[in-house]
């Protein structure tokens, strides 16, 4: 299969990106500044992320579509206001996660942002579940650009007037060079920011405009360290078919009203887990020293029993130390529980900790 390129490929190349294949796409892992600098720049200024490899699924339909989608997603979609977004999951009957996604109510239906590696499979699953009753477009003609960090609102609002008034997890249509672009206030870094869906032929012009105003291109490497510090899950690591939203400690994303009524895919399992508890659960793990615990690192308790595994771990540039997430047996999931991580045959002390690792200390308006 030929490796795909996004509309910003040339710009990445001109910006001296190092590329990596990700979900069938040639994507920039970092630029010449390197991951640590790119990470810090996003936290302090404004970073641009090409996330055009992600799926943009437009689903068109009326009340009937809402009813059908409520049989799939654990959300109260009837009350989801126009241009408002929710984080959710596509699950199997056992509440195992096929994908985590953001669903936004738009005029004629919904826009769902899907993970790149999952989007084709999601499309198949949804087509089948919806019996092909509705128009579904996994739009390859649109790019997706994220801009994240404290200066992003000023930079973007400078040429797309009005984005500063968007509230978190809401969006709207705006115009760029007479073309309709859809902007939501959202992101994956723990910073204030936006995601912009726009026609492919506008992506480079738009990105250059952001660069001209002081934002910098940031690669997938820093995207990963930023999301990890922010305690956010990455599909294929913290989430997969063998883990449920309750186990992933994401029950906040499941509508309480919908749980009491059930009747969505996986609802029985979720109801049961919420009542009876889970055997394993996602936690933050903070190594005591400098040791970095990578994915698949085994976690032990103080009696040397194997109690879990790391799902993501790296060095957090803003935390200035190692950070990790993983799954442990429920009884060892309390904050400050002492555990040991087996790295290269040796065991190193660590503590179960709350998430996120990094929380923005700045108050809106306090920065110039």
């Amino acid at each position: 299969m030929e490796i795909k390129k996004t509309s910003l490929y040339q710009l990445h190349q001109d910006s001296k990106a190092k590329f990596v294949e990700f979900a069938g796409y040639q994507m920039p892992i970092q630029y010449s500044d390197g991951i640590v600098e790119e990470h810090k720049f996003t936290r302090n200024h404004s970073g641009i992320f090409d996330v055009s490899h992600m799926g943009q699924l437009f689903l068109y339909g009326d009340e009937k579509l809402i009813e059908d989608l409520e049989k799939i997603f654990p959300l109260n979609l009837k009350d989801l206001k126009l241009n408002h977004s929710k984080y959710s999951f596509l699950m199997n009957d056992e509440a195992g996660i096929y994908d985590d996604l953001i669903i936004t109510k738009i005029e004629q239906g919904f826009l769902i942002i899907l993970n790149a590696a999952c989007k084709e499979n999601d499309f198949k699953i949804l087509s089948k579940l919806l019996n092909n009753k509705y128009k579904m477009v996994l739009d390859e003609k649109r790019s997706l650009i994220a801009i994240q960090g404290p200066k992003s609102v000023k930079i973007l609002n400078d040429f797309i007037n009005g984005v500063k008034d968007l509230s978190f997890m809401s969006g709207n249509w705006f115009l760029f060079k007479e073309q309709k672009i859809y902007i939501t206030r959202s992101g994956y870094t723990g910073e204030d920011g936006f995601e912009i869906s726009l026609p492919n032929d506008q992506a480079e012009k738009f990105t250059k405009k952001l660069i001209e105003k002081g934002a910098k291109l940031i690669g997938l490497g820093a995207r990963d360290t930023l999301r990890l510090e922010a305690g956010l899950c990455l599909y294929g690591h913290e989430l997969d078919k063998d883990k449920t939203p309750v186990e992933a400690n994401l029950k906040w994303a499941i509508s309480k009203e919908r749980i009491s009524k059930g009747n969505f895919i996986g609802s029985n399992k979720i109801y049961k887990q919420l009542n009876d508890g889970v055997s394993k659960i996602r936690v933050g793990v903070k190594p005591e020293g400098k040791i970095i615990a990578r994915e698949k690192t085994k976690i032990f308790n103080q009696s040397d029993l194997h109690i879990g595994e790391i799902t993501s771990g790296t060095f957090g540039p803003s935390v200035n130390g190692p950070v990790a997430m993983g799954y442990v047996e429920n009884e060892f999931s309390k904050k400050d529980t002492k555990v040991f991580l087996e790295v290269r045959g040796k065991k190193y002390p660590a503590n179960i900790c709350g998430l996120p690792f990094y929380k923005k200390s700045y108050v809106k308006g306090a920065n110039k």
Binding site: K18, I29, Q30, G34, I35, V36, E37, H39, G221, D224, T225, K290, I291, I292, R294, T314, F315, P317, P322, R344
Partner: protein, 126 residues
């Protein structure tokens, strides 16, 4: 004044008498990206040619550091453990990894000189 030699695993080694100083090459640091963790062999331990003698980690992944020749570790550079970013800044000088009392000087002959290494690095990263 001794010649610096290079290994296929991207270490450099400089012999001064029977003491060799070992580090990783600039090319290696460029491939690794920002180094955020370094682990060195224990002082007094014996290492075997081409065996692991340390670890460096970037934000992305961990990589073993190998020793180009056999010997006893007589000194290690704590400064790069305390601040691994030094390895990116000055890999082929102040950010050396460890010093060895070498066992067999002829092992040096199996290594590349600078021109050959530069060629090798170019070919393998292409």
């Amino acid at each position: 004044m001794s010649e610096v030699k290079y290994s296929k695993e991207h270490e450099w080694i400089k012999l001064e008498g029977d003491i060799a100083i070992v580090g990783i090459t600039k090319h290696a640091t460029e491939m690794l990206g920002d180094i955020v963790f370094a682990e060195l062999p224990e002082k007094g331990s014996n290492v075997e040619k081409d065996g692991t003698a340390g670890v460096v980690e970037s934000t992305k992944a961990a990589s073993d550091v190998y020793t180009p020749v056999s010997g006893e570790v007589v000194d290690t550079n704590q400064a790069i453990v305390d601040d691994p970013s030094k390895i990116n800044q000055d890999p082929e000088d102040s950010a050396w990894f460890f010093k060895l009392k070498i066992k067999d000087p002829s092992e040096m002959d199996t290594l590349m000189n600078k021109d050959d290494y530069d060629k090798f690095a170019k070919e393998t990263s292409a």
